[in-house]
Symmetry: none
Subunit: 411 residues, 2 copies
């Protein structure tokens, strides 16, 4: 079974919002084994919207539309679906009563225009509103259509209650299981080089890459009759990939170091602290993204000036004088200062030049990271490229990965 997702709303085409609804629905459909073939976003324009719906219906088994179900004149998804299928709109008396009741309960006067929300293409069944906008579902000649509101929480609730159960039944879904292997320090092309023959040899499970911020995720996805059977298909492939990648592959199933490093710390009842300059606080932010960070995170010393590196993080003035603020030596001293001043087991640090201008004779992108763990300190140059944001993100990844390798004993 395959599906397409259509987002309706001129605000999408003006870039005022991103189509996160399409992402959410796609994730949910992948989990029940429905293949999504296309996302489309179209504005509040009757002709173009009708065309988009008509085309999607001709191509796939299920079309899920979000947005355009409100009461204002620019909400025209009801009309668009009706026109695409050559149907009339009919006012649903039960919906009229429901909409009037909702306003009565809220003690608000109902503008008559709100009754437009009770109009449905002939043959459609209403999906009860979560806010005030009803959704609907309709069996077309070639596939099923679901129309949901664009407000994310209303859309999500209807998806759970009305769309996923229906599609699960219709698709007779087999189980789909995905597992990720997080790879650091190799980059996408080197990762691919090492496992290309495994990728080429596979059709089930399939293997895909996702790269960003210096991290590559190798995603292994299997389809089978049950979750257990799908997992059993993944196991040997995962093992083979990990054998090729060695210590570049992070143990466990992780999206990023943001979850991987905390898991390693928690497993050892260990704590971490950071000292950072060019990253401005990003190392601390990454380590505190998830809940429960106070269990393992002590703090971060963001030291933008030499004085702060000396007075706050305890970098010896002699190191700053001899090697400079952007150096292996300073990165090492920052990591040690963070661990000792904040009382943590692991200290991680980054210092460097984020740009756009050079700094103290060092070119943009020069970054050193450091880490100390169990009486050992290691510092090294990090590989970075791109603009200021990217250099900062790569510096964070390099610092956290050095911390990870220190704990694993592979640094």
């Amino acid at each position: 079974m395959n599906a397409e997702i259509i987002g309706v709303g001129t605000e999408l085409l003006l870039g005022q919002i991103a189509d996160t609804n399409a992402q959410h629905i796609s994730t949910a459909l992948a989990e029940i084994g429905v293949d999504v073939h296309r996302h489309t976003a179209v504005g509040d324009n009757p002709k173009r919207m009708t065309l988009v719906i008509k085309e999607a219906l001709a191509r796939c088994d299920a079309v899920i539309i979000t947005g355009g179900l409100g009461p204002t004149p620019d909400d025209i998804t009801r009309e668009g679906v009706a026109a695409a299928l050559g149907l009339e709109l009919r006012r649903d008396p039960e919906l009229v009563a429901l909409i009037r009741a909702i306003f009565k309960i809220r003690n608000r006067a109902m503008p008559e225009s709100n009754l437009r929300q009770a109009d449905l293409p002939a043959g459609a069944r209403a999906i009860a509103p979560e806010g005030t906008a009803p959704g609907f579902t309709l069996d077309g000649p070639t596939g099923v259509i679901f129309a949901l509101p664009g407000v994310p929480w209303e859309m999500k609730a209807m998806l759970e209650k009305a769309v996923l159960p229906e599609l699960t039944v219709r698709s007779g879904a087999a189980a789909i299981v995905s597992r990720q292997i997080l790879v650091l320090g190799l980059g996408e092309s080197l990762t691919h080089e090492k496992i290309a023959d495994l990728v080429d040899a596979q059709t089930n499970p399939t293997i895909a890459y996702l790269a960003g911020k210096g991290q590559v995720r190798v995603r292994v996805t299997a389809k089978a009759g049950s979750q257990a059977n799908a997992a059993a298909l993944i196991d040997p492939v995962e093992e083979a990939i990990r054998a090729r990648l060695g210590p570049a592959a992070v143990p466990g199933d992780h999206d990023s170091l943001t979850t991987a490093l905390p898991a390693m710390l928690l497993a050892r009842a260990a704590t971490v602290a950071a000292a950072e300059s060019l990253t401005g606080g990003l190392i601390g932010v990454e380590l505190t993204r998830g809940p429960g960070a106070s269990e393992f995170f002590r703090g971060s010393l963001v030291c933008y000036s030499d004085e702060a590196k000396r007075d706050v993080a305890g970098v010896p003035q002699s190191v700053l004088d001899r090697s400079g603020a952007v150096s292996e030596q300073t990165a090492a001293a920052l990591a040690e200062g963070a661990a000792s001043r904040l009382g943590a087991d692991l200290g991680v640090a980054a210092t460097g030049v984020a740009g756009p201008g050079e700094q103290g004779g060092q070119p943009v992108g020069t970054v050193f990271v450091g880490a100390c763990w169990g009486g050992r300190t290691v510092a090294r140059r990090a590989f970075t490229y791109g603009d200021r944001d990217n250099i900062r993100a790569l510096a964070v990844t390099a610092a956290l990965d050095l911390g990870r390798r220190m704990i694993e004993g592979t640094a």
Copy 2:
């Protein structure tokens, strides 16, 4: 002139990432007066991708494609564009040399497969790579095509350098000028309440709202024959809006406090330091997003534990004992500690409960912010709601806004 945007990548259809590229490009095109009629996302499937590109070309003047330009076998946008236009792929010798040079400079071995990135549809002109992936542009029989990498920072850089200038020329755009009024502490509906009649009375300039992270941007956009004439249309409307909003409106044309507060500091040759707990380093990150941060930013003390608040930021133990770590008093002491320990003119601080669990009897979302400036310290409770991410973002905004008001003398 109208355009469509195509995002390529199975990861989009699996919901692993949202198509934020389409949003970014749409915003940029709206600013130069190009109408976007459709966004499409399609997977790494040759047949379906080719069809999507062919259809888009038939409908509009410009097609911008992102993604699928990497070196791995699933990167097939080059092939997709060539097939859609019935062209052959040719290996561009200059790009081959460039790709080899990039790897050489980085001192990395180049997998031969990377040379696929030098293949271009016949007649296409290369857009120089920002990372390692070149983009390209091609004049089709009905319109122009741009193919850009999917990695956001690479895409954004190429859009600025190669796409927008070209489309601006081709569209013969009349001048469009936008100016933003940043509003803090009111929220979108209160902001609207205060200026609704001004909004309703306008057609040129138009007035739109954009809200997020506790900040509302009122965007005033005018079209005219020249930049100067467009600006002249905006002036009186901006003045009227500012008169209504008072100190909630930040002076100048700013996207967010991330640029507004640094501008105020630089204008006074003043510096800032932060001390933060629940925000984990986000205040430092916000203040260092732009270039030149070392001119005004000293650092941030990220103190997740009580010990760190005391030892690193100098919060008196008596304050922690009497009022607790999440309190007005601690927020005030953190701001003062940041300013004194890091030697800054302005100190800002945030402490609170980001959730998901309560902390020390304080419910999720309890946040206090503090600031000190010119011998005066102020602390107050910040209004927050939503999930962990949102609470942290609102805490940052509240802390920076308190700093802004301290400098302006309106706190």
